[in-house]
């Protein structure tokens, strides 16, 4: 067991940051800081303004550019070398952001009066939610090359991210749908009476209220996504769990499993627990102050 803790000490950098070139490791470290800053920013009610989505886009783009390199004289680092905590945060956050617009669209589609739109939305949601996530990751890594012209390759990480986002959109759709159903019918009637058509009424009146109602559930869903990112280990990507596993499998560190797992578990637990506490806090605060 003491050998285990020696492992942790020796391979700490690898577990945390993956195979990123040692001299450039300030970049993924900075990326972690950026992500945490984004979460803290989004958590404050004062920041729930129309500019928040733009901030998300800016910070996420910044983090990706930072990791990838290219502009600003940063050396290019291929995605195969990305790993550890930055990769986990990237997959979770970009996945959530990418899944959000389709999720809202699906939720609206599910409630549409047009039968074809409704059927398509329901079909998508049921398929994505009825099949294990692992299957879709396999599809992304094994099936995908068959569907595109030869020579046209897409980065494996990008494929996995897309698979995650497509599945998560379905789960988000159900959360937003519950929010939409919770908005009183009188709101839409009032908007209609004022002459607002379906489109503007939905965007200006119904959606803002639906999303506000859904916030605790959305945060809980984000926790679920964060945990789901560990599944990319199965297709050979080195997220935080993947790097830990790689360390354990190394025959030099046989018997070191438990301490390494404990370390990684502690990281996940800290994050998820903190966010779930926040979710409870925000739920209470929303109920106390009503819609303000």
């Amino acid at each position: 067991m003491s050998a285990g803790w020696a492992v942790v000490h020796e391979r700490f950098r690898f577990i945390l940051l993956g195979a990123y070139p040692r001299d450039q490791q300030w970049r993924p470290a900075l990326a972690i800081v950026l992500f945490v800053a984004l979460y803290v920013l989004s958590a404050r009610r004062a920041c729930w303004r129309p500019w928040l989505p733009a901030a998300w886009l800016a910070i996420l783009t910044g983090a990706i550019v930072l990791m990838r390199g290219g502009p600003l004289g940063l050396a290019r680092v291929p995605t195969e070398s990305w790993g550890g905590l930055p990769l986990t945060l990237l997959l979770a956050t970009v996945g959530f952001a990418a899944a959000f617009p389709p999720g809202v669209a699906l939720a609206l589609g599910r409630r549409s009066a047009l039968p074809a739109i409704r059927a398509l939305s329901i079909a998508y949601i049921e398929v994505m939610r009825g099949v294990p996530l692992v299957t879709f990751l396999f599809m992304a890594s094994l099936m995908f090359p068959l569907f595109v012209p030869a020579g046209f390759t897409i980065d494996k990480l990008l494929r996995a991210q897309a698979a995650l986002a497509l599945v998560q959109a379905a789960y988000l759709a159900e959360v937003v749908r519950a929010g939409l159903e919770a908005v009183p019918a009188g709101q839409r009637e009032a908007a209609a009476s004022l002459g607002l058509r379906f489109g503007p009424a939905t965007v200006l009146v119904v959606l803002p209220q639906a999303l506000r109602i859904s916030i605790p559930a959305l945060v809980n869903t984000f926790i679920g996504f964060f945990k789901d990112t560990t599944l990319v280990t199965v297709i050979g990507l080195f997220d935080l769990l993947g790097t830990a596993r790689a360390v354990i499998v190394d025959p030099r560190w046989f018997g070191a499993a438990v301490p390494v797992y404990l370390l990684v578990a502690a990281v996940y637990f800290t994050f998820c627990f903190a966010v779930s506490r926040y979710s409870q806090h925000i739920e209470r605060s929303l109920m106390a102050h009503g819609h303000q």
Binding site: P184, A190, S193, L194, G195, R197, V205
Partner: protein, 238 residues
Amino acid sequence: MQGVHKRYGAFPALSDINLQVRRGERIVICGPSGSGKSTLIRCINGLERHQQGRIAVDGVELTGDPRATDAVRREVGMVFQQFNLFPHLTVLENCTLAPMWVKKMPRREARDLAMHYLHRVRIPEQAAKHPGQLSGGQQQRAAIARSLCMRPKLMLFDEPTSALDPEMVQEVIETMVSLAEEGMTMLCVTHEMGFARQVADRVIFMDAGQIVEANRPDAFFDAPQQARTRLFLSRIVH
């Protein structure tokens, strides 16, 4: 409204409604619950669809075509029993929303318009607050101001005071009275018979989806002609 019928499944909500409203007329509709009063006025601005008959507002007929419905809704304002203010917007934003997005009014002009009507209903100081911070009476007055900002030709009121505590009913009634005195065409579903006596040109009694009796207020209250009307009036403590 000519020969209007409406059903919910097999249940006849409105039966053979014929009603002509002239500009500037104030009409109060009363009757027991389930008589179709709300359904009638909700048909006028298209919130409910009628199955038979014609409904036309200022020459525009409600045919089910969304463009006709939109045209009618631009000229007709509605005040709800549950206020239905938008809780995520301030009172001012509630009032400027429709003029800006439906009539494409510039922001400054919409603000001035909204403040004008908020003054009219005597709550200008509440403009920056959210509906949840206002009392019931203030909320309903804000709702009235919101509808007025679209400068409607006809105002529909669906039991505007029924959800209010008694001490706040008066402020809303006063607002409605002052509106009537300015010449606004109004259709009110209400139990406030004092208001009817004071302001209405016609009082209509509905029962079981039909218009049973319609008359001037003094004739209506003092000499009701139908037995059902007499029964209803005897049950109201006025």
